[in-house]
Amino acid sequence: MSSDSPPRAPHPEDVEVHVFGPGYGESLLVHLGQNRWIIVDSCKKSSNASPAAIEWLRQIDVDPGQAVTHVVATHWHDDHVRGLGETLEHCAAATLVCSSALLSKELIALFEDAAQPLQAHSSGVDEIRRLVAELKRRKSNGVSKTVGLGVEFATANKRIVLEEGPPSCEVWALSPSSAEIELSLREFARMLNDSPMNKAKPVVRPPKPNDTAVVLWIKVGERILLLGSDLEERRSNASSRAATDCGWSAILASTVRPRSQAEIFKVAHHGSETGHHDEIWSSLLRATPLSLVTPFVRGTSRLPNDDDKARILSLSGEAYMSAPRRPKKYRPKDRVVAWAYQGKNPTVPAAMGHIRARVSALDATSRWDILLLEGAVPLAEG
């Protein structure tokens, strides 16, 4: 581990993975070499802050409007989309990568039927609406760089990026499978059709499990990364088709995905048991990889739990977490406000943490340089 102050942009031949995450929220930023960047999901330090990845790029004097080639929306859970619309607005040259389910008629109709945006909360519904608004703006201004509108639909076994080097880079989507997309579309249609009439409009919440999460396999020079998003594995009570054609099982069963094993893993679904599959660690990853985890701390929900943490540590060479799992007690300064919170066990998530992992993309033997910023901690201590 090293310290590095002030932060500087990576060398053109370096690959970098940044993991941002407070107790609630997650965003990744990856340098693909030669000042090519991709942003995966979005989170913010506070309601008024800029998206974490955008803030970091500005800190190291990189213009997100030019350097970010892709913004990936892996799925629309609230903890992955905070500031996503704003991120795309800042990244004028970027292609949006998402599941086709995210821009399906079924989901857009569901969002159109939903209640109006909230004042303060950034929900998946609001952020996807903002993404659509930005795409419309691009379309009407004629700035879309492809026949469509600068959108690439991610599906299993699809290469999204292929750039020459040095270092060369390629990015593949390993999910969602066509079965997952179909199941999601059916679910969205059911949510729209089955909500009762003449009663208050339903609150639109993403279905569980995370069926359409986009998992990315990235190769930069000699280095390979696996970004697990929130993809989960279906367990009992699932139909036999869903159990084998969805989740990690579908990726593991694929015969056409890239075969090379990754050395660094953004652990899926905050390290939870539902995001785990033994064969991820034996088939998709090299032995004892470098594991990066974002916690999920919201009230009484805590991920990873102690068992998850022990499992990840036993399978990893090194493991880090973007923020501690323990929330902090909220102590209002005003005594009347403090009175109002009495007995309500108010907590605030840990401050935004940031892990930076950097290595030369061209030298397969060099070690990853890990920098833990703000609240980030070794997993064993978190």
């Binding site: 109709a109 004042q119 059709n193 409009k201 009230g299 309500k344 605030v348 998530p349």
Partner: protein, 183 residues
């Protein structure tokens, strides 16, 4: 009924919409469409004067004359903290919510509320994902007496109609067409 938020009409022009400043005296009120206290925080509701529902109701709603508006001091509220909340989980006799500060940039808080913090109406509206507003401050009486208040008001969502769903599908088609993604 909260008359302060009632739909107001100008006495000089029955069934003509009026602004608040025009309706200082001799107001007519359509009581059947007056807003309830739960509606106060609903930024999503269109003003009733602009809604088709209001227009349909007006000719049949019996007008009621209200006395001249009082100029005496009234109870008012000093807000110290105002948060928008989302219900996360509902347990036995309590629910967990995420609270975001609307007035300042105080940190996001997760807190557990007792059902006892809710009105009967609030209990009906309580469900995962439901939105509410939590105001903490002082209530100041006309005599100047202050009392501490923490007020939790759920946002009411508009009623869902068959036509809304059809319109949502139509708008989705339009969006996809605009984006060049229509089949």
């Amino acid at each position: 009924m909260n008359t302060a938020n009632a739909y107001e009409l100008d006495a000089a022009g029955p069934f003509q919409e009026s602004t608040n400043t025009q309706a200082a005296e001799g107001r007519l009120v359509a009581p059947s469409i007056a807003r309830t206290s739960d509606d106060q925080e609903d930024s999503s509701l269109p003003h009733l004067a602009e809604s088709s529902t209001a227009r349909k109701l007006l000719p049949t709603a019996p007008p009621v004359f209200l006395p001249r508006r009082s100029v005496e001091p009234r109870t008012h509220f000093i807000v110290l903290e105002k948060r928008e909340g989302i219900v996360l989980e509902i347990g036995e006799g309590e629910f967990e919510a995420r609270l975001i500060d609307i007035l300042a940039d105080e940190p996001e808080v997760t807190a557990t509320f007792s059902f006892q913090d809710l009105s009967e109406d609030g209990r009906r509206l309580l469900k995962p994902g439901a939105v509410f507003y939590w105001n903490v401050g002082y209530s100041v009486s006309p005599s100047g007496q202050r009392s501490r208040v923490a007020d939790l008001v759920f946002r009411r969502l508009p009623s869902r109609r068959v036509a809304d769903v059809a319109a949502a599908r139509r708008r989705a088609d339009e969006v996809l067409h605009e984006l060049g993604l229509a089949p």
